[in-house]
Amino acid sequence: MTDMINPAESPVIVAENVSKRYIQNEQRPSLRHEAGQMLRRLIGRSTETSAASNIDQQFWALQGVNLSIYAGESVAVIGRNGAGKSTLFRILSGITTPTTGHVAVCGRFATLIALGAGFNPERTGRENIYLNAAIQGFSPRQIAPFLDEIIAFSELGRFIDLPVKRYSSGMTARLGFSVAVHILPDIMFIDEVLSVGDAAFQEKCMKRIAAMKAQGRTLVFVSHSADTVRNLCERAIWLHKGRLMLDGPVDMVLEHYRALLSESSTESAQIEKVPG
């Protein structure tokens, strides 16, 4: 499992013309609404027309995004809040499907969107390592050789055999992160979770991710920190209001991104504060 992955010629992640539309009245479905849809379908009017006719009620989180990522690449997705970064991640990891377009991901992947997703609070940390790995598609047999390493990395020590409900939120997040970086997927989706624990732990996380990158694994992550992006990635993708603005070398994309941010008004203040 630890052996190097050869970069292949064909891309491991492909997104073609991916769009995602959310419709507000579909967010809160009811029997009345559903019955109306059913009738409309019966008399031959497509449900598309009824929803799409009301432009106020729809929101395009992504529009016509095209993307190819090759094995061994590490790609940062940058953009303002609400630019569609998380929606793109959700579509790539199969959590939701695009409204139009096509997505293909080849290889075992893990998503680091929320750490400790699916932890059973009544069970011990050790048991939850197995559970969390299994949810991501990795069996106990695959995980067992790394168990000591995972526990050591999480710095939980003797607390590992306590129920997770007694953990602090930091401890839970550390355990979740340790599992995620030790299951060794081919492709890893990381969504703004690098702010785990104290500075020392963050440092360790960065090292670990850099090591995974050195092993030739594909990394795709969202970060607001220009430092992180520049350290870990050679390529960046800039999303703005659901559209892909720029895709290229990280320095070039960051430069353009910052240029636009400084042009726009005070809303960008939080991002401008980030050094780099």
């Binding site: 559903e34 579509i91 959590i95």
Partner: protein, 431 residues
């Protein structure tokens, strides 16, 4: 996480339908038609040639029953459930689908697909009805009418209520099942941990699982023994009740908890992909573990009353399998619908309460007034629960009554699973 994942939308569906998807559509339609045929058969049993049996002139209930049993499960019943009917349905549907597949236009929208499936079903219903009419002249026209009506209602519900039934079917049922099998380890771990954390907290945890149905049945026994007498036939009321309420418990738990099985995990669904049906199977697994405990408790109480395990217990695995399939099928429907429509969970709990009293649990099937028997014959749980009780109390069950629940269970399981998988991708958007 997975070897590969590919999703496409209805818009990009100009490419030809895969044989696997075509097969799935065929099987779905076939299951709908078989369900309709079964319902028609059940109606036929109770209303021979459209006239309700008038048992009022017979004074003794046992004579009435004997008459009704002969009428109901005799020659006509077997004729109605002969295999030929289902073969006709399968062949007619196959021809209809093949022809429609040949003549259909290349470009299709979501609407056109749902409409086409509906049209295929109606066409198959009409042709099969015509074949029944010509081939079996002794079949009542009323029964053919029931069949057409039931097929219309069922196909309307299944085809139109799931907007995306065929639209986003990029994987066949077999591929989905293979994927589920790959995730069996997750299922095992998950059930193990959930069950353990539910019961290991206190010693009373396990005790409650046993005490709850026991106390319920004692309360019901107190209430109903006043009405029905403390002995039913020659079976003590507690034994009578427990033998029905314990198997009912699995169905009850599965369907009620099934409404929450996906809904309660929406946080996880929004964060990571795994085959969502695991959540349903997980709930069913927990229900089976509960059943194991209550079953042992029931055996002990029954033994105290002189009802020891008997040779008929070999039938239990088969009865359990029918019940599990039926419960799972309904769970797939209610768990997916509960996410899409939040009015479903309260509706389901009302429906289950109603069904509890429409199923012979606290009273024997024989005590049901004859004019209401048509409702009971449509309830697939009634013959199943009665068969369980017969086995536990050492009476040979009437196996011919199990035909209806068995075939309906298979039809429900298949259509439920297809419905669930067709709507699964919408879950994350309905948070």
């Amino acid at each position: 996480m997975v070897a590969s994942i590919a999703t496409s939308t209805s818009r990009s569906s100009a490419v030809s339908i895969l044989p696997g998807a075509q097969l799935s559509a065929y099987l779905t339609n076939l299951m709908i038609l078989i369900g309709a045929m079964l319902i028609a058969v059940q109606f036929r049993v109770q209303l021979p040639y459209g006239k309700a049996f008038d048992g009022g002139t017979l004074s003794n209930i046992s004579i009435q029953l004997q008459f009704l049993r002969q009428k109901a499960y005799g020659l006509e019943f077997y004729r109605a459930q002969r295999l030929e009917f289902y073969v006709v349905l399968a062949v007619v549907l196959l021809i209809v689908q093949a022809v429609m597949q040949m003549v259909r236009p290349r470009v299709s929208t979501r609407m056109a697909r749902g409409g086409r499936q509906f049209a295929a079903l109606l066409l198959a219903v009409s042709i099969s009805a015509a074949v029944f009419f010509v081939g079996w002249p002794d079949l009542s026209k009323l029964q053919i009418g029931y069949f057409a009506a039931a097929a219309f209602v069922l196909s309307f519900g299944v085809v139109f209520w799931s907007a995306h039934l065929n639209a986003v079917r990029e994987r066949s049922v077999i591929a989905n099942l293979r994927r589920l099998w790959e995730n069996r380890v997750l299922l095992r771990i998950w059930i193990q941990y959930n069950v353990r954390s539910r019961y290991s907290q206190t010693m009373l945890g396990i005790l409650w699982i046993i005490l709850l149905p026991l106390s319920t049945s004692f309360v019901l026994a107190l209430a109903f023994s006043g009405i029905l007498g403390s002995v039913i036939g020659n079976v003590p009321f507690v034994v009578f009740m427990l033998s029905a309420i314990v198997p009912w418990g699995l169905f009850n738990y599965g369907v009620i908890t099934g409404t929450r099985s996906v809904l309660s995990m929406m946080g996880l669904i929004n964060q990571v992909y795994f085959p969502r049906e695991i959540l349903v199977v997980l709930t069913l697994g927990e229900g089976l573990v509960d059943l194991g405990f209550t079953f042992v408790a029931m055996l002990m109480v029954n033994a105290l009353n002189g009802y020891w395990p008997n040779g008929l217990f070999v039938l239990l695995p088969a009865l359990l399998l029918i019940e599990v399939c039926m419960t799972a099928g309904i769970m797939f429907f209610v768990s997916a619908l509960s996410v899409l429509i939040r009015d479903i969970p309260p509706l389901v709990s009302v429906a289950i309460q109603l069904l509890f009293f429409l199923t012979p649990i606290v009273y024997p099937l024989e005590s049901v007034p004859l004019k209401y028997r048509v409702l009971f014959s449509l309830n697939p749980m009634a013959p199943l629960i009665t068969a369980y009780r017969d086995v536990f109390t050492g009476r040979a069950p009437d196996l011919s009554t199990l035909f209806y629940p068995t075939v309906l269970a298979i039809a429900l399981l298949y259509t439920g699973y297809v419905f669930f998988k067709a709507n699964e991708h919408r879950f994350a958007d309905y948070i």
